[in-house]
Symmetry: C2
Subunit: 478 residues, 2 copies
């Protein structure tokens, strides 16, 4: 696909967005004006149509990725108005670029025929990326239009889990034999109308289709035309298996600064390739899911989603949070008698819980990342736990003393201050312990250590903090 559309810097993209927004605003004004003076003035009746044509023209000048950005930044009704004015031939490319939530809102308003038409322009790997979001019937129709080879490829890609290398494979690649000269390769390449996107290497296979090596274009261009591919190609190639986690592949791309890499099955057959742009998306999504998880969101949200969609996206974490908060509340309830005798306890207990939660989140985030990056084996948990305990004791002594002294001065009770110091230190130690233990256990059980880590640790440090503080107070102060 030629990129015939101007690519834009961030500033110019914001300008384009502003212009589209102004055109849409004017459209609404013109339409309501036209509706008011219905038929009175023929010239005015044309104005909305002219404005719409201008919008269409502006959108036609934008790169599909930029249209996607504009659509994401528009409220739903404006977004659909703009979506109506895009070139149908580019709808597929735009759908590929928008976020999942926005994609859903666009697909919802398209009828099956429009969708099938939009898909017609896409490559197999792009089709595979959209397929899970499309009505089943549309996917079948789009498949029926493919030639046999492409249909087989699409089925292959769809057979892998979304987080696997196989699901991100691309089949547009150049294959050559090892026993030809570089000259022949250059002549062969010249027969293409255009090389596939991001072709930084060509793949060397034998008759059976087994990968024998790769020939980097930057090697090919400096090689003697007479030399044989076998002598110039690299044979130690980092390649991926379609069942490998996509995140592992993305990290390898990052480590080795790769642009493309072959996907190869157990028997060494070349299945397809991975490209860096797909890997960038994987890295981005990994960061996203960590952030969403920490913030208690189920998935990326369409900023302008209807209220009800937002409620759905957020309710599960809220519900879990409520359950743990309720449990913590019952812990406090068990000490109501103590609080009735010394009301200061009620005012001080959130401090103990709060510092534990904050510190526990620090620890657990670090451990979860180290596990995800393969920098920590679960066997090292003991060593890291000792370190975290060290950190928590120091923090407990420092901050516990500060708050302890303040509590002493405020409530005139040295023993209350000492209980505060002890409770804060103990809760920080609990936070350190759970911060190491929770993700390590999750990993050992084969679960994703990131999932819910923040909620779990906060639950521990809240309930634990209340229990420790109120328990100590009941024993020593009352």
């Amino acid at each position: 696909m030629t990129v015939a559309f101007k690519q834009q810097s961030a500033d110019r993209l914001q300008e384009s967005l502003g212009l589209v927004q102004r055109l849409i605003e004017r459209q609404r004004e013109l339409e309501s004006a036209a509706a008011r003076q219905d038929g009175e003035d023929a010239a005015d009746a044309l104005a909305p149509r002219h404005n719409l044509a201008e919008l269409k023209q502006k959108l036609a000048q934008l790169h599909p990725a930029d249209i996607a950005h504009v659509l994401e930044a528009l409220p739903l009704e404006d977004r659909l108005l703009a979506w109506d004015q895009t070139d149908p031939a580019r709808d597929g490319a735009i759908l590929l670029e928008v976020s999942d939530a926005v994609r859903e809102s666009l697909i919802e308003v398209m009828d099956p025929d429009q969708l099938v038409a939009a898909l017609a322009e896409l490559d197999t790997d792009d089709l595979a990326e959209l397929a899970p979001d499309l009505p089943r019937q549309v996917v079948y129709e789009a498949m029926a239009r493919l030639d046999e080879e492409a249909r087989g490829q699409l089925q292959e890609v769809l057979s892998y889990g979304e987080d696997r290398v196989g699901a991100l494979m691309d089949f547009e690649l150049v294959k050559i034999r090892a026993d030809v000269s570089c000259e022949v390769v250059l002549r062969y390449l010249r027969r293409f109308d255009e090389l596939p996107n991001q072709t930084d290497k060509i793949f060397v296979t034998d008759e059976a289709g087994r990968l024998k090596g790769v020939l980097a274009i930057r090697k090919l261009l400096v090689s003697d035309p007479e030399s044989e591919v076998a002598d110039v190609m690299a044979t130690e190639v980092v390649s991926f298996h379609p069942d490998e986690p996509a995140l592992d592949a993305a990290q390898a791309f990052e480590r080795y600064d790769l642009v493309t890499a072959p996907v190869v099955d157990e028997r060494g057959m070349l299945l397809g390739r991975l490209t860096v742009d797909a890997m960038v998306d994987v890295i981005r999504e990994e960061g996203d899911s960590e952030v969403l998880n920490l913030a208690g969101l189920k998935e990326e949200e369409d900023l302008f989603a209807p209220v009800i969609d937002s409620v759905k996206n957020r309710w599960s974490w809220l519900a879990i949070n409520l359950c743990t908060a309720f449990f913590a509340s019952r812990v406090i309830g068990a000490f109501e008698h103590s609080i009735a005798q010394l009301v200061a306890l009620a005012a001080l207990m959130p401090i103990v819980a709060g510092i534990g939660g904050n510190s526990g989140n620090q620890t657990i985030t670090m451990i979860v990342r180290a596990l995800a990056m393969g920098q920590m084996r679960t066997g090292q948990a003991g060593r890291l736990w000792r370190k975290e305990i060290g950190v928590s004791v120091i923090n407990g002594m420092i901050w516990g003393s500060v708050i302890g002294v303040i509590a002493w001065l405020l409530y005139g009770s040295l023993s209350l201050g000492l209980v505060m110091l002890a409770a804060m230190t103990l809760n920080l130690m609990l936070a350190a312990t759970m911060g190491v233990l929770i993700p390590t256990l999750m990993q050992k059980l084969g679960k994703d250590p990131a999932l819910g880590s923040s909620v779990l640790i906060t639950a521990c440090t809240d309930s634990g903090g209340f229990l420790i503080f109120l328990g100590l107070a009941t024993v020593f102060l009352l």
Copy 2:
């Protein structure tokens, strides 16, 4: 630089790490055994040296990025033992790949001569990346060894802020003129020993050095050798200014699936290029800083850092958290009289604060991301606020009713349940309001909306939640 070292899949990388760890463990055992039977057995005295040689050989087989990974996963004393066994000629490349915290621990143990020697192998842009972490004297010495052109480039790169495009520029690029034929270009390229990494396009400049266009390699390879560069090159090029934020450039790389792009000054002069591997790092770091910020860590931490370093990295957020917790505590303190009369309030108040914090973090995270991605202008804050208020009222009604009924049953007071319902709904509305307001204001004031967003919103919903709940209870229940 040729990559003569085997690149590895995730599994094999873990194997290498395991092997290095075993060799280091054995080294410690052998050394202590040798120390015990000092001089008794000459054969045993050689064993540690053999083992060390094996470690050295293993490390020599690894890619610098893989050595970096191994070093990051090793506790400090083991890390330094392994670092001693790496090939000094590759030390510079390894330093480039390790995380900031680990880099610091390695540089600390190197003397200036070693450092200068390690830098000798690096390109200008890599040198520039390391420079901020190096002793000033070492940078001067390394600079003195460069030729004049490279020194000028290094000074240029160092003159830009770390988060600017200019700081990430790479000067290894191929330049050609527009008035030559593709044949001539191919012949010119053949004169190189090797093309720069990730060369997917060559840059077309005029005599003065102004960028006229780019010639994609994938275009060059399929073009008629007779045709002139001017006819084949693309003239509408996405280019970046060195003062532009690096994150904007990275997002453009992501949007347009770029591999390299030119950096150009106001006058159109080609200064250097950006490559996708540097942009991947920017995207990764952006995600990282969001996660670290949400978790209350100042920066990425060396997993095996001494306790005192961890304390330093974490104390600032803990201190801020303590201040806000103390403030919330004083809010409760103001209602001690009410709590003394109705102790149930102490048990229920953390639920009100907790759900507000959770919901506020959901809102603020979404808004911060939308602002960072340019998907939201501050002018849309009002519209988004209305939506968030809608979400919070629905959530308040649902969860407030659930908890309200439970409180009613638990404490036998319908009015307590109603106060609970009202307080939860109001605190959720406060969370929604502050969740939109805080980042929007930060953005308008030209500050980073992400910084401290989680702490700020939690402070509001804690203090606010206690105030609302205890206030309502005091008015209606006592």
